[in-house]
């Protein structure tokens, strides 16, 4: 324990450069059976891993696959808990998955063993799975073409690799935030967890692509409670600057975290001082902060523009989409006001969904989803890129389409599915921020910290959160049990003003889909926004 908290805090920026020596502190745990005997897992770029991948590809090819791809993943998880219990929990897993295509049917086989024999077994097993289907029932898969990736390597550009820092230093740092919160006599910390993960991945396909990639995701939950000494009312909120992102420990280190904690405490104090008022259900202009708008972009557009979902591939699990005729709706369907433009990407720096290559081997670029209120794109993978012309019938037209790079499998035991990319909402053209928009509201409602429930078609929504009455541009009271009831297209068509680019904020989001269910993360960048004529309800009132 040569580091003290002080040295860690002052030298953290330099830590990345000393990663080589620091890595001695992290255990070198796992084994791979390369050749005939076990040996420590080599670095992900070791050419012998490519040989291992190739062995599975060969086995799948020999068994009859027309296309196959293989993933090796090695994931490391570390959770540092500062409150309620101080704890460090480490976890590590290695997986391998082989996906094989035979006569338009996919087979998949996965396990936890990186060995020559297992590669052969899985390659054959994936083909056997595919061949268990009735080939007389025609199914055509036309993979959109993609340039071959030749031995690419990429790492999330982190400035502070969290796994290069001795865990006690991290614990010490996380606990220092408790001490800081303790300076506020009316505040205490409910939860203080720092969650770190990194994953090394090797991907190879039978088309000759091979890449290795190391990603980092860092996330914090710092939940602070502030109590009003007079009324004993307490409000609990999470610090909103620690949501998941594709960064290292700079998530904590490169923000003015103490200022942000102070801001949160002061915000809660301001709220505590506002009187309560029963909500008067009616239609009001509603102002939402950037985080709530981001939640809504993710819930109403992120899910609905997945092409597999729009075509019914998720009908039995997470649902379908209001964009239920995607071919006809593309370029014509008005999902919102002309102020609304949203793009998807998996290449923004620090994004929670950011990669260099997706799980089809596609190098993703930014692509439009909604442009001036009109649907201009869908999230696709190589298989679905051509579906807009002939869903699942297969045509060579697929060649004319490009995947948007949304294939994602969290671990190699998961089969790749279309998952939400990072979403970016185009800000307004003025320099307005949240407070400017607030001043423009004569009589209305402000909502923050929304929880959004969508139906299984992402069409009808119900959102609850902290609600405030606004009179003459000022928040005058808190509204008890207020919620918004909305229908997605009407909601976005009622958008009347957006915050400017300086008011844009990025948040990490977590979503799930699939059978079996898979989880994924993405970032959403949004601005505060004002909506006219929203239905505000009393959520506890029955019919």
């Amino acid at each position: 324990m040569s580091y003290t908290r002080r040295t860690f805090l002052t030298t953290s920026a330099a830590v990345a450069t000393t990663a080589a020596s620091a890595s001695l502190l992290t255990p070198r745990p796992l084994l791979a059976y390369i050749g005939s005997r076990p040996e420590p897992v080599p670095p992900i770029q070791d050419p012998r891993l490519k040989t291992l991948v190739q062995r599975a590809l060969d086995a799948a090819h020999d068994a009859g696959a027309t296309y196959a791809d293989v993933r090796l993943t090695h994931s490391i998880y570390r959770t540092i808990g500062g409150v309620p219990a101080t704890m460090i929990s480490d976890g590590e897993n290695m997986s391998v998955g082989v996906r094989a295509l035979v006569h338009g049917y996919w087979g998949f086989a996965a396990s936890a063993i990186w060995s020559d024999d297992e590669m052969v077994r899985l390659g054959r097993a994936a083909v056997a799975q595919a061949k268990s289907n009735d080939f007389t029932r025609t199914r055509v898969v036309d993979l959109a073409p993609v340039p071959v990736v030749q031995d690419g390597h990429w790492e999330t550009p982190v400035r502070i690799d969290p796994f290069s820092i001795y865990p006690v230093e991290l614990l010490d740092y996380v606990q220092s935030l408790n001490l800081y919160v303790g300076r506020f006599p009316d505040a205490l910390v409910n939860f203080n967890d720092c969650m770190l993960q990194t994953q090394r991945k090797a991907f190879g396909s039978s088309e000759g692509s091979y890449y290795t990639q190391q990603r980092f995701l860092t996330q914090g939950i710092l939940q602070i409670q502030v109590v009003n000494g007079r009324t004993h009312e307490a409000i609990t909120r999470n610090l909103d600057t620690l949501s998941i992102a594709g960064v290292g420990l700079e998530l904590y280190q490169e923000q003015p975290i103490r200022d942000n904690i102070r801001r949160l405490v002061e915000e809660i104090r301001t709220d505590l001082a506002l009187p309560f008022k029963p909500v008067d259900p009616n239609r009001y202009p509603v102002l939402l902060d950037a985080e709530s708008v981001g939640q809504l972009v993710s819930a109403t557009i992120g899910a609905a523009t997945q092409l597999d979902r729009a075509l019914g591939y998720e009908a039995n699990s997470s649902g379908t989409s209001y964009l239920n005729d995607p071919a006809a709706m593309l370029g014509t369907y008005q999902v919102g006001s002309s102020l609304l433009s949203v793009t998807g990407n998996r290449n923004e720096v620090g994004g929670a969904a950011t990669v260099q290559w997706d799980d089809d081997g596609v190098h993703p670029e930014s692509f439009p989803l909604i442009t001036n209120g009109v649907v201009q794109g869908f999230q696709t993978v190589r298989e679905s890129a051509g579906w807009l012309r002939a869903p699942n019938l297969g045509t060579s037209q697929a060649a004319a389409f490009r995947s948007t790079g949304c294939a994602y499998a969290r671990d190699a035991t998961d089969v790749p599915l279309t998952h939400t990319p990072n979403l970016v909402m185009q800000p307004g053209t003025t320099s307005a921020d949240f407070h400017d928009l607030l001043r423009s509201v004569e009589r209305g409602v402000v909502m923050r910290n929304l929880t959004v429930d969508m139906d299984f078609q992402q069409l009808n929504g119900f959102a609850m959160g902290d609600a405030y009455e606004v009179l003459k541009g000022k928040r005058t009271a808190r509204l008890d049990n207020a919620g918004i009831l909305f229908r997605t297209p009407e909601f976005w068509k009622s958008l009347t003003a957006l915050g400017g680019s300086a008011s844009a904020r990025r948040f990490g989001r977590h979503v799930g889909k699939g059978e079996p269910r898979q989880d994924s993360y993405h970032s959403v960048t949004a601005v505060p926004a004002l909506f006219k004529d929203q239905t505000i309800i009393d959520v506890l009132r029955k019919a």
Binding site: E92, N460, V539, A543
Partner: protein, 478 residues
């Protein structure tokens, strides 16, 4: 091997898909050997296999065979607990995980009384047979053939079917009191269990998205799941649900199918926490007793219709509860009276308070029913709604258990004792406490579908007919 073992007298699967008891014992011994210093270890080892088939738009979109392992190691060193996990079984990986757990224990200076769990007593325990060879031995070609049969029914009617078949098997070993010193080696205990889960569900939709029908069933035994029957039900519901009309939100008499009852009652059973009630939270607080300075609970008071009994028996294989120390039969609600609030975790400081057993198995229960059939419920209804299932049920208010959610995949208007038309989905706002006090009829309890649990939890619940169910808004999603 002098180790005490808890009996689960089935031959272990030998094809390598799951770890056997003997393999787990050996892993435990190796972990024991890697421990340094004094203290003891608790190790949980899970291994699982899944054979899955997914289809959509009348074609199989994926068939898969997957397996994985998880070894969770907890080291108790000098009154401090640390843990780590890995999915690798070689010496280097296990040793690294043991050392990570020990390091975590050392780095945890502020261990509190809650951290000290004495080893769970190895009480005589329930050993339900929640293993089915029919589930574990189902092959990919069997799944493929079944899927073709399920899909072709919908396809023949011009509908689109999407669904999921899943056969899952798992073995779990809990090894306790592994002592690091050599003299005590092999003195630990192991509790080993194997279980299976079978799952079949499907959604049949009209190609234009004008109607949707769902059906599904899960349970440990694949042989008890009739996929063809489910496919017929989903198709029939889809065809019946075409071109729904909107009805006014408001209060309706409802006939809820068992799946809808489960979706709706689950939050209520989930709130039967003694700790919450005694700290003044949740629906089961009676009043604050200033003399005792604690909250009196509603134990012993009638809270719902006297025809309702909600109970849990770990010996009931259909509830699929993995045997664990301390799980005993529980009756939460006995003929309408709240009879048990369970602790979330045992109270070690005050062991005498533990007469009510710790139970987090609140999603496995039986709810009593009656003899009425769905047809009888419909025939006796002048005007009401028939609900297939709910989606996205969420608690709005802990005190009243007011919940919100949506109807999904089949909602019909009942008029003059007959199903008259398909209606558009609606969002509801209602409390199961209210509805279970407004029961008119109860039907024969039946098993329901419980998606993708890593444990074979399930429930047996009746269809019900109840009055004044509150639908608050239209949700015209299909």
């Amino acid at each position: 091997m002098s180790r005490r073992t808890e009996a689960f007298d089935r031959p272990s699967p030998s094809d390598g898909r799951l770890l056997t008891r003997e393999e787990m014992v050996r892993i435990g011994d190796r972990i024991n050997g890697f421990a340094t210093g004094d203290g003891s270890s608790t190790v949980q080892i899970d291994s699982w296999w899944a054979g899955e088939l997914r289809w959509a738009r009348n074609r199989v979109s994926l068939t898969s065979d997957r397996r994985d392992i998880r070894v969770s190691i907890q080291r108790l060193v000098s009154h401090s607990v640390g843990q780590a996990w890995t999915n690798q079984l070689d010496d280097v990986s296990l040793q690294a995980a043991v050392h990570a757990a020990e390091r975590a224990a050392q780095l945890r200076p502020q261990s509190r009384i809650e951290d000290f769990h004495p080893p769970s007593p190895m009480l005589p325990e329930a050993t339900p047979t929640i293993w089915s060879d029919a589930t574990f031995d189902a092959t990919a070609p069997m799944r493929g053939t079944l899927a073709t049969s399920l899909v072709s029914r919908a396809e023949a009617k011009g509908m689109l079917s999407a669904g999921f078949l899943r056969m899952y098997g798992s073995s779990r070993g809990l090894l306790q009191e592994l002592r690091g010193d050599v003299a005590a080696a092999g003195k630990g205990t192991i509790r080993y269990n194997q279980f299976t889960v079978g799952e079949c569900s499907m959604t049949v939709r009209d190609p234009k998205g004008m109607g949707s029908g769902w059906s599904g069933l899960s349970g440990f035994d694949w042989a008890a799941i009739n996929g063809e029957r489910l496919a017929d039900q989903a198709l029939e519901k889809c065809l019946m649900s075409l071109n729904p009309v909107a009805v006014e939100p408001g209060r309706y008499t409802v006939v809820l199918e068992p799946q809808a009852v489960y979706d709706f009652v689950l939050p209520l059973v989930g709130m039967t926490s003694r700790g919450a009630a005694e700290s003044g939270q949740g629906p089961f607080v009676e009043r604050f007793d200033p003399a005792l300075r604690l909250y009196r609970t509603k134990l012993g008071l009638k809270i719902v219709d006297s025809r309702v009994t909600i109970s849990h028996d770990p010996n009931d294989p259909l509830l699929g509860v993995i045997p664990e120390p301390g799980l005993v039969p529980i009756v939460w609600i006995d003929h309408g009276v709240l009879t048990t609030l369970t602790n979330d975790r045992p109270n070690h400081a005050l062991p005498l308070l533990n007469e009510n057993v710790p139970s987090l198995r609140r999603n496995s229960f039986r709810m009593s029913g009656g003899t009425a059939t769905l047809d009888e419920m419909i025939a006796s209804t002048e005007r009401g709604l028939l609900v297939t299932r709910f989606s996205g049920v969420r608690l709005l208010d802990g005190k009243s258990v007011l919940c919100s959610g949506l109807t999904r995949d089949g909602l019909w208007l009942i008029q003059n004792g007959k199903i008259s038309k398909a209606v558009k989905n609606m969002r509801f706002r209602e409390s199961p406490l209210f509805t279970l006090n407004n029961l008119q009829m109860l039907g024969v309890p039946a098993p329901i579908f419980s998606a993708e649990r890593s444990e074979p939890a399930s429930a047996i619940v009746p269809p019900i007919k109840a009055l004044d169910f509150s639908f608050t808004s239209l949700a015209d999603a299909v």
